[in-house]
Symmetry: C2
Subunit: 193 residues, 2 copies
DNA sequence: GTCTATATACCGATAGAC
DNA sequence: GTCTATCGGTATATAGAC
């Protein structure tokens, strides 16, 4: 603060104060997880006193939830033909450009011992997938099927992350898109009785 | 050891020493997670000095991995007709009797910031599902498909747990078995080119 | 008001006495 | 083998300087 003269046009102004804390926190939470990141380390990286972090953001968990809200993150494109939506969803989830989102979701899942984090996770799943999927699905149980599709995507992301360049991750992305896309498609297509 | 006289017949002998620590640790890790469970609390519940827990088991993480190895847990029955295996796998995963296994897997996933825990998770997935599935699947990419089926099951378990008696968990188990079973079936059936 | 410095109450782990 | 005492670490809260 102090010399924060509100030059709102420049994008690359070196962050200071609260913003520096938020950026440092996001990066460290993504890379080392919640438990592996200390408030002291965040404060050090941001050039700020540790006590200020608590004073500004309430608690470590509040800062975590604020910084991992996943707002302003890209959303999957659900337009286009329904009968190939499965593959497009998998391709979206595994796209290189979605790496940060994957890491954010991983960090959230691994911190989900806390019920606040679980609640945030539900909210993200709902706004990112379920609410938008349910409007496109035909047939019965559209909402449940949307939830289950989101579950499938969550499972894929978790395996992709846990695999660590073996097993699943070692397979060609295209093959996974084809195979797992078909599995998603089984819940996208209206169920036949 | 010392007074461990190998009375292998009695099942209900009140656990003492190391065994009391292991039981207390398992229960507390399942219920409150890794971070939420302190060595001091485990020692207190087991009636043992906290320093002994470390001395006996090496570290908190070593104790966690030892107690959550998921050996001697029931394994899904993969025999029977292939064309309904999807539903049977979902039914197995969601069965009330599998609650402890679900909680164990949840605890592991939530502690998977640690690479040792991720490694254990891979091992469990492999021995519980992949190795046994791959022998039953026909068609190409049997191993990858087995991994992806395990991913689907992992995603379902995670949602089931995060949902907390809303959304997914609120739906009738039978409907989930039907719908998600069909999604698993898409990877069980040999892919058509 | 904003921030600095300090205090409290935990944690996992260890050294060393008995 | 067992346990006491303690170390360095953590998150969080507050008193008080500027």
């Amino acid at each position: 603060m102090g010399d924060d003269r509100r030059v709102e046009t420049t994008e690359t102004a070196p962050p200071t104060g609260r913003e520096a804390v938020e950026r440092a926190a996001l990066g460290m939470f993504e890379e080392q997880g919640y438990a592996g990141t200390s408030v002291r380390a965040i404060a050090g990286a941001a050039g700020v006193d540790p006590a200020l972090v608590i004073r500004w953001f309430g608690s470590k968990e509040d800062l975590f939830l604020r910084v991992l809200s996943l707002t302003e993150k890209p959303v999957p494109d659900l337009t286009g033909p329904l009968d190939t939506l499965g593959e497009r969803l998998v391709a979206f989830a595994l796209a290189p450009g979605q790496r940060d989102v994957r890491r954010d979701l991983t960090a959230l899942v691994r911190a989900s011992d806390s019920s606040s984090v679980r609640s945030r996770l539900r909210q993200i799943t709902r706004t990112l997938f379920v609410e938008r999927l349910v409007e496109r699905l035909d047939g019965p149980n559209a909402e449940l099927r949307s939830h289950l599709i989101a579950s499938q995507l969550g499972g894929l992301l978790q395996s992709w992350d846990v695999a660590e360049d073996q097993n699943v991750a070692a397979a060609s992305r295209d093959r996974i898109i084809t195979l797992y896309g078909a599995a998603l498609q089984a819940l996208i297509d209206p169920p036949v009785e």
